[in-house]
Each structure stands twice: as C-alpha cells, then as structure tokens.
C-alpha cells in the first residue's frame, strides 16, 4: 500500500515537472577520456537518451573502399567483448533499450534510449561501451553484411530517386570524398583489416562527442560519459579532409524507364558555423524550405500541378555541404518544370525575398522555434550537432535573435556568395 502511494506520487510528479524543456541549459565538459560531452538534465520522463558520435563518417573511407565507414558502424553490434550478435540483440531487447546507429559523411555513431532506472541504465551504458570500444568484427557477419550491402546497392541503383541523389553528389563533389558512394566493387574489396583499422583510427575518445539528455544528474552524466569512452584509444582529435572545389555548371541526364523525371539542381554551398547560416536559412524558407508557402511550391505545384513534392535546402557539413533543389514530375513535362524551377531560383538570386516574405520567414522560424525542441529526442539531435560542429553553447538561446537580425540585403548577398549560377549542377534521371 505504501509503495502504491509512492508510485502514484511519482506519476503525479511526471505531470507537474512541466516546462522542463523551456530555456534549455546545456552543460558542457571534456571527459577525462578526452571526449567532449554535452548534457541537458530533465526529469520530466523516466528516460535517458545518449548519443555517441565520432568523426568517422564516409568522408574518411579509404580510397577505392567506399563503404568502410558504413560497415564499421553497422557491424558494431555483430559481436563485441565476449558477446556474439545474438547475445547482443537479445540483451538489448531484454533491457527494453532502443539502440540505433547511423553513418553520414562527417559522423558515425550510436544512439541509445533507455529507461532511466539504475538497472536498465547501467546495463545499457555498459553494453554501448562494449560495442564502441571492443567490437570483434567477426568474419561471418562481415561476409553476410557485405553481401547484403551489395544487394542493397544494386537494388537502389534501379530506383530513380536514389540514382538521382547519387549522381548529384558525384557531380557536385568531383574527386572529393563527399561525392563518393559505395559500389558493389568497393564493398567487395573491403576486408576485416580495413574495418579494424578504420575503427582503431576513427572511433577514438578525442574524436568522440557524447550528447546526453534525460533523467540523470550532472554527476551521473559525467560518470556515464567517462564510462562510455574510457576504454577507447585516445586517438588523434581530427584529420583534415581535402578542400571542396566548386563544380562547373553542367546538366547531366541519366536514362531510366520511370514515369517521372527526378531532378536535382544545386552545388556545394555552406559549412557548419558559417556566419551566413541564418541569412541562408531565412532566405531558403521563402525559396523552397517553407513547405506549402515557398515560392517553389507555389510556382511548381500549386499553380501548375507539375509535382507532388518540390523543395530546396542547405545541409551544412564540416566542409561545404550541399544546396539542393529537388522535384519529381511526369517525364514529358520535365523540361517545363525544370524551367520553372530555374526561373524561380534566378529571380530569387537577383532580387532576394520581398519584405513580406522576409517578415513571414522570420515569424515562422522564431515563433516556431519551440517546436524544434519540444521533446528529448529532438533536443538530443541539437546537442549532438552543437557538440560535433562546436557551435556556441548558446546556439538555441541565440537562434531567435540571430534570425530576427537578418535583413533582405543580407539574404541576397549570402545567396550571391553561396549559390553561384556558374557552379550549378542539374541532374535529371528518367528523361526523354
């Protein structure tokens, strides 16, 4: 009976613990291991989210072995310490833990969600630590995952959307690791030694960023971050990537029998931490980022019915990440739709947003900011980005004022600096 009362009280507290996410306080420190740690304490829910990222993305794939980063990350849970893959899978499930991983161009890592009670939490963190520090990369799962990866690549190569994205990356990043995608040949060439060497070199404490949010204290978070990373080699903090060179204006057509043409228009545009970030965000909202209210959506979809989906975005990376305008349209009207998209961009580059558009963009981005951080999962994503790219700890607090300060002139000038027509690449897959 007494226990029951305690539980009911605990439950009531869940609901009065409100507003835990308003005015986010990010704490930052460097663990004794050398890993950088970013932490938000919130006890509103009995859960804990932890993300460990490494500067170990596909940009670090050895030449001719595109796919090593993805396999190294993907094989972490196929055997580690004294556990085989079935034991790892079973243990995660028995703990009620959600573990996911990813590898993009810059980063690779694992994300964990667990109940915050001691037993689950400690076991989950120990498991994650073992996967990160002591993966065995056993031959059996490696061979199987190589086979599955090759099959997935061959399958993806039959899909117009994937083909378009792949050709677009290759065209805007000629000769650069950002332009490489794994092929059947490059994956077939990968050996266990390649994976082990990659893991040793890049999954090190000094390349690690640990983001933690949830129902733990600062002291507990410190212990968690250290426990996760102390068994990793110290490693080298960072290794430079080759510079991104701007591509020449070009149109690439790829044959495919699809009923729709898939179109990308863009170029390498912006690094993380670029001072033009806010101006480009505000401007892109009006151009193609603002969903139904963007110029692209109005001109391509609403006025002409050319496409279901049309948009533009900037995806900043460590080096210049892409600006990408994309749409899909019935193949016999691809030329007409492409012209509309080019015209919308040209007009925007020439004149920038109207004062009305500017005001609407700012209002949306500022008033809607609370939506971007209204869950632990979303905040974890921000923590990880702030940490990995070493953005200011005040990034979230500063966001509204930075957006508010953007002028139409700044948008125009920022677009002129980052989106130069002479470097724009157009890729059309499935065209007549």
């Amino acid at each position: 009976m007494k226990n029951m009362k305690k539980l009911l009280l605990a439950f009531a507290l869940l609901f009065v613990a409100g507003a835990a996410l308003a005015g986010v306080k990010i704490e930052h420190w460097v663990a004794p291991s050398g890993a950088r740690v970013y932490f938000v304490e919130t006890h509103a829910l009995p859960i804990l989210d932890v993300q460990a990222d490494f500067s170990a993305g596909s940009a670090f794939d050895p030449p001719g072995k595109s796919g090593v980063a993805g396999l190294a990350r993907g094989l972490l849970d196929t055997g580690a310490g004294d556990m085989d893959e079935e034991k790892i899978a079973g243990r995660l499930v028995d703990l009620g833990v959600r573990l996911s991983g990813y590898a993009d161009y810059d980063r690779a890592g694992l994300t964990l969600r667990t109940l915050s009670s001691h037993t689950e939490r400690d076991a989950a963190i120990d498991l994650m630590r073992t996967l990160l520090a002591q993966p065995a990369f056993p031959e059996g799962p490696l061979a199987r995952e190589k086979t599955r990866t090759i099959a997935a690549i061959q399958e993806a190569d039959t899909k117009p959307d994937h083909l378009a994205a792949k050709r677009f990356a290759a065209a805007i990043y000629p000769g650069h690791p950002y332009g490489a995608t794994p092929t059947a040949e490059s994956v077939a060439a990968i050996t266990r030694d390649d994976i082990k060497a990659f893991h040793r070199a890049y999954f090190s404490a000094r390349r690690a960023v640990v983001a933690i949010i949830g129902d733990v204290s600062r002291a507990e978070a410190e212990a968690i971050a250290q426990r996760l990373t102390e068994a990793l080699p110290a490693g080298v903090a960072d290794t430079p990537l080759p510079e991104v060179r701007s591509p020449k204006q070009e149109t690439i057509k790829v044959a495919h029998p699809a009923s729709q043409s898939h179109i990308h228009i863009g170029l390498p545009a912006m690094k993380r931490g670029d001072p033009d970030f806010y101006a480009l965000q505000v401007g892109n909202y009006s151009l193609g980022g603002g969903g139904f209210v963007s110029r692209l959506m109005k001109e391509v979809r609403e006025k002409r019915g050319y496409a279901y989906s049309v948009s533009s975005y900037f995806a900043p990376r460590k080096l210049e990440g892409p600006f990408d305008m994309g749409l899909q349209t019935k193949r016999d009207q691809a030329g007409a739709a492409l012209k509309v998209a080019h015209d919308v961009l040209a007009e925007f580059l020439a004149q920038g947003p109207t004062e009305q558009e500017l005001a609407a963009a700012k209002k949306h981005l500022i008033d809607g900011f609370s939506l971007r951080i209204d869950s632990n999962a979303k905040l974890l994503g921000y923590l990880a980005v702030i940490g990995f790219y070493q953005l200011p700890l005040t990034y979230l607090d500063d966001f509204p004022a930075k957006i508010q300060a953007v002028t139409a002139k700044e948008v125009r000038e920022a677009f002129k600096r980052h989106v130069k027509p002479e470097n724009l690449v157009t890729v059309i897959v499935a065209t007549d």
Partner: protein
C-alpha cells in the same frame, strides 16, 4: 538462448510492475479528458505540459473504404482540396496562417479515415481550432483549383506507387486478396479514376461526410482541457450536424483457395508478400485471438532478436529482409502479412518455404516463455518512450478512435496483450495460416535498361 542472472531478472520484474502501475495510475488521473458537443463532435484532450507547444488534429470517419468503384481516390483528393480555400480563407491561406503562427501542418488519408493536423506553439491553438472548424463547414471547391490539384495527386501516385515496385506489389495484393471488400481499392486511387474525377465528385464527398457528427478532435500539449472545451464550443460548436450516408458492411466472402499473382517492374531484387485473412478485434474485452496474433507478429518481427531477423536474415541468410505485419484494429478486415526480399542466390520460392517454416515451427513447437517476455518488455518500454512525443500520443488516440474503438481501449489492449499465453499464440498459428485463405504476390524484377518508359494510358483531361 540467452540467459541472465537472477539479479537482473528480479529487477526487471519490478520495472514491469512499476510500468503497469503507471499505466493504471494514468487512467485514474483522467488524462485524456473528453467532451462531446451538442452537434455530436467529440473532443479528446491530453494535457502534456513539458513544452509550450500543442498538437491539434481533426479526424473524419471517412476514408477510401467509403468510396465506390469508379470514384477511387476521392477521399484522398478531397484531403488535398481542404487546403484550397473557404468562404473567408483564400486558397493556400490555411497553410500560410499555420506557417505564420510558427506551426507545421499536413494531412493524411487511409482506408478508414482522413485526418488533418497542426503542430503549433500553444498560443496559436485557438486560431487553429477556428481555421479547422471553418473548413469543416465552409470549404469552397472551385473547378479551377480542383483541375490544378488533381494533377498534383496524379504526380503523387506516380511517385508513391507507379515507380515503386514494392508499392505496386501491395496494391495488387490487396486488389486480389479482397474480392468484394473495399480494401481492394488503393487509397491513392486508380490512375484511370483520378483522370476522370471531377470537382463535382469532390463537392459531393465533402457534403456527404464532412460534418461534426462524423469527426473528432484530438488535442495534446501544454493546454488546459477546460479551456480547450470552451474553445471547441466557440468554434466547432457552431457547426450543424447532418445525416450521414448509410454504410454497408461489405463483408468479404470466405476465400476458398490459394491465390497467386505476379507483378513485373524494373528492380534488381525480387519481393514476396503472403497475406492470410485474419480476424480483427471486435470486442476489446472478450476477444483473445487478435491479441495472440499481435503477439505472434511481434515474436516474428517485433525487434532485432525476433525470429525473422535472427533465423531468416542472420542465420539462414535466405532473406535480405523479412517482416511481419498485422493490424487488429481496423474498420474493415484484417490481413496477416509476411513479406521480404530473398537473400543473395536465393529465390522467392526459397523465401516462401522459409516463411512457411517459421509459422510451422510455432504450430509444432509453440514459443518460449523468454520470447513472450521479450515482446512484453518491448511493449512496456514503448509505453514510457511514447510520452516523449506529443505527436505520437495524439496519433495513438486518433488511430484507435478512427478505427472504431475508444481511447480508453489503449491501456486495456496493452494490458491484455501482456496476458497472452504461448498456447494462445500456438493456437492462432494453427488456425489462421491455411492455404485456402492465402494470397501470394511476387515481384518479378525486370532489367532497368530494357524496360520501356511508362506513358499515361491516355491524355489527362483536367
């Protein structure tokens, strides 16, 4: 099999007990709150004060299953038209007002329902309720806007279905598995029906189904439920109820023999889908079989240690991917579907045999206590994790209500799932996986470079 020390096991029991009590306490705390307006509209509010935001959803109990042959895709086309203006809001104005308020909005249509939502800073909620109530009663459906928008819908169909081989397989599978039941029609609509759809069809659909007595509102967020009820009275409360068209059960006749079909499309990997007719949940309190089928589905494919990823993908390597799906809570009829891509050097016949083998093993050998415990652990953890997302909580309420159940059934169904026994799982595996009620669909991959570009069958008329 993995075994664990006693310390862990006893702690896990405590956690499970705690979570169960939390779920129970949740019901006792009367959150969500519910009120029905005089015009029949039900308003369900779940207070979640963690962040100053709110989710507002309106669900209409009208979906593709309410369409007639020749009018397929109409529920979804109307969903698109709901953004095209009212007597007082210009076309596109709805999106603009949501965006200006800092919010995001969209809509989705299924066989069972059509739903609209906005995720907004909480201060914008009154405006959202006003706008959504406005388009519930005052939509303007002009010929001109319809003519432009139906082209967008056709592009959507090309994108999602025509150029997506697996989507084509599932479209064909439903069309063959169901002979008379309306689930045989695709939600997006057959292209030929889209080409012949008119603005008058859309106006007719709107007049028939869009009424407060055929809808419900879900609000989750940093709100006071009493204030939301007052707002609902002031906005939705002004709308008048009207009689709804009759609905026929359209019960599918019993299938009496296996059906097989093949879809050819440009792809590298083959695909296999096997669909058995299965019972749906009718009586939340008394039914047992649908719960056992849900547990069976989770045992096969609910997590990384489940039988499909473990046996078919990792051990036998007969599958590149394999999955199980079963939805017991639907307005129409349920299918239990197994599907996947064959592994390297394996055929769809190998995969079919392997999938059948997994069912047979459960028929012959039942399932272990450990496997059942894992499914239940996943359920409990998911209940805690879902509270991190307002949208997930709103969707959960909306789904269950729109499928013809009550939000109070959410906790009941979870509690009942946890009582399912190994014998019950074995019994449904024996009873429902018979060839006579099976439909098998296969994707026969065609070389991309030899395929001929697809052209519309004839010119678009709108």
């Amino acid at each position: 099999m993995v075994t664990w020390g006693p310390t862990w096991a006893s702690d896990m029991r405590k956690i499970l007990a705690l979570a169960a009590l939390l779920a129970f306490a949740g019901a006792a705390a009367a959150n969500p709150f519910e009120k029905q307006l005089a015009n029949g509209l039900r308003v369900i509010v779940k207070e979640d004060r963690r962040a100053p935001t709110a989710v507002h959803m309106v669900w209409y109990r009208a979906g593709a299953m309410d369409e007639y042959d020749g009018w397929s895709g109409l529920a979804h086309a109307l969903e698109h038209m709901m953004f095209k203006g009212t007597k007082t809001v210009a076309p596109g104005g709805f999106n603009k007002l949501v965006a200006e308020a800092g919010g995001r909005d969209n809509a989705f249509t299924s066989e069972d329902y059509t739903a609209y939502f906005q995720i907004v800073p909480k201060r914008a909620l009154p405006e959202m309720m006003r706008l959504e109530a406005d388009r519930m009663g005052n939509l303007v459906l002009s010929d001109k806007e319809f003519a432009a928008e139906i082209k967008v819908v056709m592009e959507e169909r090309r994108l999602r279905t025509d150029d997506n081989p697996q989507a084509l397989v599932y479209e064909a599978l439903s069309a063959v598995a169901f002979q008379t039941h309306p689930y045989r029609r695709p939600v997006i609509g057959w292209m030929d029906d889209l080409e012949h759809m008119t603005a008058a069809d859309a106006r007719d659909w709107y007049r028939r189904w869009y009424a407060p007595n055929n809808a419900f509102v879900v609000v989750v967020g940093d709100v006071d439920h009493k204030a939301v009820f007052r707002l609902a009275e002031k906005t939705y409360g002004k709308l008048k109820a009207h009689a709804l068209p009759g609905r026929k059960p359209q019960k599918e006749p019993e299938q009496t023999g296996i059906k097989r079909l093949t879809v050819k499309a440009p792809a590298k990997l083959a695909y296999l889908a096997m669909a058995w007719k299965a019972p749906k949940l009718v009586d939340v309190d008394k039914d047992r079989e649908p719960y056992a089928l849900e547990v069976l589905s989770a045992l096969l494919d609910g997590h990384e240690a489940a039988r499909f990823p473990r046996n078919l993908v990792r051990e036998q390597k007969v599958a590149q991917s394999a999955g199980a799906s079963y939805d017991s809570m639907v307005r129409g009829e349920s299918l239990f579907i197994l599907g996947g891509q064959p592994g390297e050097g394996r055929t769809v016949a190998d995969l079919e045999m392997a999938l059948r083998g997994e069912i047979k093993r459960i028929q012959d050998e039942s399932v272990s206590a450990e496997e059942l415990a894992r499914v239940k652990t996943q359920l409990v953890a998911a209940q805690v994790y879902k509270r991190d997302s307002m949208m997930a909580q709103a969707m959960e309420i909306g789904f269950i209500e729109a499928s013809g159940y009550h939000w109070r059934d959410i906790d009941k169904t979870i509690a009942t799932l946890r009582t399912v026994t190994a014998a019950e799982v074995q019994a449904v595996a024996k009873k429902y996986f018979k060839d006579d009620t099976l439909t098998v669909a296969v994707l026969d991959p065609q070389p991309v470079d030899k395929a001929v570009p697809k052209k519309p069958a004839f010119a678009v008329r709108h």
